[in-house]
């Protein structure tokens, strides 16, 4: 953005004031940068993204190779941290955070696990935005009977207990596409899912349930902007529906939508962790923090390190996204500060 410079005459003193005029995005970005918590959150997210991308280079070991003889081994410093382990723990120097119950490196699994959480954090909002914004803007823009019908459908979907619905959907995907005929659409989907370690169906499960609030929000925003003068002006000069929608309405409502989406990222991450925890998430041996917490949870009395570290990783990620989301909200819409 090339900054334009305007010179204003200040009232009483007659002193010329130089004011840099900024675009909205630049202004928001400046406010975001000044928010220390948001910057820390953003940096952590960036770091996590790098870890996820370069997991293959960072992880010292494979996440799936089982060295059964090393099962439940821990490094010496872990024994001094969790003193209850001292009587029975087998120590080793091979594993940074210890090995799990079948002798897989916990640290490497943690590193690879970031891939799952991070993909959900980025793809969840995209799916929710895509479905929700399209649905909501059609509903809000055309109004009338279509609007009424579309919103009633959303109302009904709202009455579904979300978590139960996702669990049911996951069971449906998992077993419907389990052994399809080669060459069919279902086969393609299940192949794709298998290649993604089971993440495709997680995205679909979350996507099918997460767009409803987005659709309501978009509709409300479209309704409020639709009657504004600039839309009327555009219509007068002969702009079509598509042009009005994409050039005039969407750019004006995108702020609150992005804010809302960034604040729901932690919810998506929790959803994936929940699903993997109950065994309906990623396919083993693909590591997810949720499934690691589940596996570690069953031996928490004897080897607490196996549950505590994935739990910490998940918590830190959630912190980072919460800080970043809060910061984005304050930056993009200062009036909303402190709400939600």
């Amino acid at each position: 953005m090339s900054a334009q410079t305007g010179v204003l005459k200040a009232g009483a003193g007659g002193m010329p004031l130089t004011m840099k005029r900024e675009s909205l995005t630049a202004d928001a970005f400046r406010r975001l940068i000044r928010n220390r918590a948001a910057v820390v959150g953003g940096l952590i997210v960036l770091l996590l993204a790098l870890i996820a991308i370069f997991a293959g280079q960072i992880a010292p070991k494979s996440y799936e190779v089982q060295v059964l003889i090393d099962n439940n081994k821990v490094p010496a410093w872990m024994v001094s941290l969790f003193s209850s382990m001292a009587p029975y723990a087998k120590t080793t120097t091979d594993y940074l955070l210890g090995a799990d119950y079948v002798g897989r490196d916990l640290f490497s699994r943690l590193v690879y696990g970031s891939r799952v959480s991070l993909s959900v954090a980025f793809i969840g909002p995209i799916i929710s935005l895509l479905i929700g914004v399209v649905y909501g803007s059609i509903s809000g823009f055309f109004g009338g009977r279509a609007d009424n019908l579309m919103m009633r459908i959303v109302d009904v979907l709202y009455a579904f207990p979300t978590l139960l619905f996702v669990i049911l959907l996951m069971a449906f995907f998992r077993s419907t596409f389990a052994k399809p005929d080669p060459g069919s659409f279902a086969y393609g989907l299940s192949q794709l899912d298998a290649r993604m370690g089971g993440m495709l169906f997680i995205f679909m499960g979350i996507g099918f349930t997460a767009w409803e609030t987005m659709a309501r929000l978009t509709r409300g925003q479209v309704l409020s902007v639709r009657e504004k003068e600039f839309v009327e002006a555009a219509r007068t000069v002969g702009a079509g529906n598509g042009r009005i929608m994409f050039r005039h309405i969407l750019p004006n409502i995108v702020g609150p939508l992005v804010v809302f989406e960034s604040l729901s990222i932690p919810t998506y991450i929790t959803f994936e962790a929940f699903l993997s925890y109950i065994g309906l998430g990623v396919n083993p041996p693909t590591p997810s923090w949720g499934s690691m917490i589940a596996e570690g949870g069953s031996v928490i009395r004897t080897y607490p390190n196996q549950a505590v570290f994935p739990a910490l990783a998940l918590a830190i990620t959630m912190f980072a996204f919460n800080f970043l989301g809060d910061g984005l909200r304050d930056a993009l819409d200062p009036r909303l500060r402190g709400t939600q």
Binding site: D155, L163, L164, L168, A171, L312
Partner: protein
Amino acid sequence: MGRYFVRRLLWMMLVLFVVSAITFGLMHAVPGGPFSREKALPQEILDNLNARYHLDEPLVVQYARYLYDVMIPRFSLLEKDPDGGYIKPIPSLVDDFVIRFNIGAVEFKWMNFGPSYASRSRTVNDVFKQQLPVSFQLGMMSLGFALLLGVPMGILAALKQNTIWDYLGMSVAIFGVSVPVIVLGPILVWIFGVSLKWLPPTGWGSQPPYVLGLFPSNLGPEFFKYAIMPSVALGLVSSASIARLTRASLLQVIREDYIRTARAKGLMERLVITRHALKNSLIPVVTILGPLFAALVTGTFITEQIFGIPGMGKYFVTSITNRDYPVIMGTILLYAILLVVANVFVDLMYAYLDPRIRYD
């Protein structure tokens, strides 16, 4: 008001109808049936089982039968007992209703959720009767915890805005939203259950019979000893959002004109806050109580697994893998009913908190 609630009620029925239809369709679309095994059962046995549970009928008929069993009240005549009372038949797998009482010789029966295929000796109503109270108690405890922690924290943060209290409260809140129950649960178990041994790491402290069929009969230290960790783990996230919402809403309300009026007429500050500000600022909080309630009662599913609590959670997950259709339907419908009823309740609360809101 009356017309509004009639309309609400009709809408509720429609919603539940659609929810049940979608669930029914979806679960029957999942391949495999309740009686498919690794080693297939002989065809004759399979046919008999399917006929016994009407699974050989077309789906539409099955669905209609299900709706009929659940929704249509039944009346029957009871036999006279020699002692002057009436003999009630012992409920069987096909005749177990949630609501069942008699006036004289006429017995009224309503809501039969059907048999459970996985445990042959129990009906879905048995599962509800034994497992639901536990989940309900856990959900209520965590809702209570969320409100008890969240509302005062939000009020304190708003009244002492930009002081250490505000920052402290909001830090706790952001901590709260960042540690979901699967993070907090294992950590709490490890600290208080395993290392310090202050609290039992798993289990639940109340046994049947329950008061009114839902509430624990031993509401004492023994109960709380088991309930405190799971309730905190489940309720913390909600308490954080309640705190943030309370704070934001109260901050907005104390800048309103009527608060200035109240102060100007010389009202004590305490009264200004309690009578005028608090009541009005709680409206947004009440709004999210509906969804929050839903999140908590369904959230118990994960919490129960972590803390080994014998609630509904295990049944729902296993019922899906077992294709135990009546249990799946029953659970989803039950929670959907809770949800829509909670939302109607929220509407009623509005009218109480804000006299300007009228339903007509």
